[in-house]
Symmetry: D2
Subunit: 184 residues, 4 copies
Amino acid sequence: MNFDFKKECRGVISVIGASEIDKTTENLTIELGRLLAKNNYAVSCGGLSGVMEAICKGAKEEGGLTIGIIPYKEKNAANQYVDIVIPVPFSQARNIVVVLSGDITVAIAGKAGTLSEISFAWIYGKPIVALTSVEGWSSKIAGQKIDDRRNDMIHGAETPQEVVDKVIELMNAEKPKSFSFSEL
Amino acid sequence: MNFDFKKECRGVISVIGASEIDKTTENLTIELGRLLAKNNYAVSCGGLSGVMEAICKGAKEEGGLTIGIIPYKEKNAANQYVDIVIPVPFSQARNIVVVLSGDITVAIAGKAGTLSEISFAWIYGKPIVALTSVEGWSSKIAGQKIDDRRNDMIHGAETPQEVVDKVIELMNAEKPKSFSFSEL
Amino acid sequence: MNFDFKKECRGVISVIGASEIDKTTENLTIELGRLLAKNNYAVSCGGLSGVMEAICKGAKEEGGLTIGIIPYKEKNAANQYVDIVIPVPFSQARNIVVVLSGDITVAIAGKAGTLSEISFAWIYGKPIVALTSVEGWSSKIAGQKIDDRRNDMIHGAETPQEVVDKVIELMNAEKPKSFSFSEL
Amino acid sequence: MNFDFKKECRGVISVIGASEIDKTTENLTIELGRLLAKNNYAVSCGGLSGVMEAICKGAKEEGGLTIGIIPYKEKNAANQYVDIVIPVPFSQARNIVVVLSGDITVAIAGKAGTLSEISFAWIYGKPIVALTSVEGWSSKIAGQKIDDRRNDMIHGAETPQEVVDKVIELMNAEKPKSFSFSEL
């Protein structure tokens, strides 16, 4: 092998969102995957269907690296676009690992599982970017704070390009704090 | 020993909420703990401070049984009112166990950690009652749905007595469904 | 309710072992459950079949308190003799919680799952008693050390009464140390 | 980016072992890391010191890809030779993820933590290769079975080259079975 990860990869972006999505959301997510790979970011996700599959598909179209953190013990349960499969067969606790494996969290649409991941991203001090042009928790929570303990907010972005611009900006900014249990 | 748990205990109620609370919230939570014990419900919680300590304190005043699911490996990290200490040293993943150990989830105030627990209660099909007379996520989310996959909503209740009345009603009602990963 | 747990219960004993057992092992385990309850110890276990069911059955025959830490999300997956069900749907990671919920670990027979629990009991500084009169890891590993970092060893005991005598002795002795990751 | 993981990488090997090692063990492990990378295998490990650091160091010397599954929430806790950091802040439960992320498990020396990982590799149906030329659990358990439910055994190998030869052979062989809870 001959891959200098630290030289080629500027960071890992956790992408979270619904496992069932419409064509519009799918296309936006594939486009985001392409842009992240072009800008030399690896993507990490839950490794299954919907947003998780679309982001990996887009990333692979541009030669990107994809990490799928699946809630099952068998590696072959991941979608076909995942390069590195990490089985975390701990039910919803796998969501925590999805968030922690990235430097920044990007939310696209999403139901209750996505809301738990947004909560964790907030707790663990990850900057959060939320796509506002689709339905679900990403547009509902954009521009808000989860609680009063961080100075920043969940950043809204309307297009895949705006998401990537925000990601680049946030990668260079000071990181929010991570909370301990006594603060929760 | 001589304790017939199944005969004496009508169910276990998971109580979630902030680890730092004001005097008003503390008193309301202690009152709820008393009422739950009087009505023969055991309480389960995160075992630390704030809402977790107040609910156990109230329950013990009426001879109740308290379960504390703490995020540390040492049992002595639990507050003094916890009877049965369950160490789950898995960071925020312990929140999942708090929710699953109860038949119903009751939310009191709360920040990001509480929001993750509400999300899990929704995913795992637990009926949810949220206290509306205090600040934080419990009052913010009362009367709402986390997503469109359950027919019920998060039930608001204004006083400890109303919470208990709702708990008794929900214990006798049909349970909401629990979701699999392909639905999330 | 009216149960003073801390007054009535002298400690919690984690009992680990095979999920499929022969009649002899079952009878020995039921007898141990009875003796632990008579001596005012609660029992904690994996909540399923085999050793886990027999220990709870014995404990309940003498009015004891039983805790079942199951690897599934639904509380009704526990065996009928479990009082307090703690769902930890994290695959084999639930074994860690079984060990941590007790003050002492008792091993009866056992295959690979039991060996992982014995390893964890060693790491987390729990005294370990292993029944020597049955086949499996409990008799194989009795009298040995898992590694050189603890001064004690895995204590062998030939009968349920000897197990209880050892448990009582160890409850009053100084506890072994628990290890951090840098020592593992 | 431009990395075709599935084309370049023939599999992922989980390497487990002690966090404190002597110079001989370190050199053997570095040599194994080199050989695995040369043969186009990625390595996965616990991401900290000792065997975990040496295997990554060796792999990077030959342009390999390294995955570090650390038990802390902060990515910067991994050793400097880890490319892809996966934080699993779930205490010893992170050991499960180390084993599941690989196709085959290789054990080098090791104390109680390593024994728990060998137990999990057995339970989850991973072929196991154990280095016999160093002290600790890898040499103690080589040639044995953890229990009677698998037809194979833990394969001993005396040198890094023998480990790699065995890995290549096992990658092409039929996989052992994985166990469900009712069988444990």
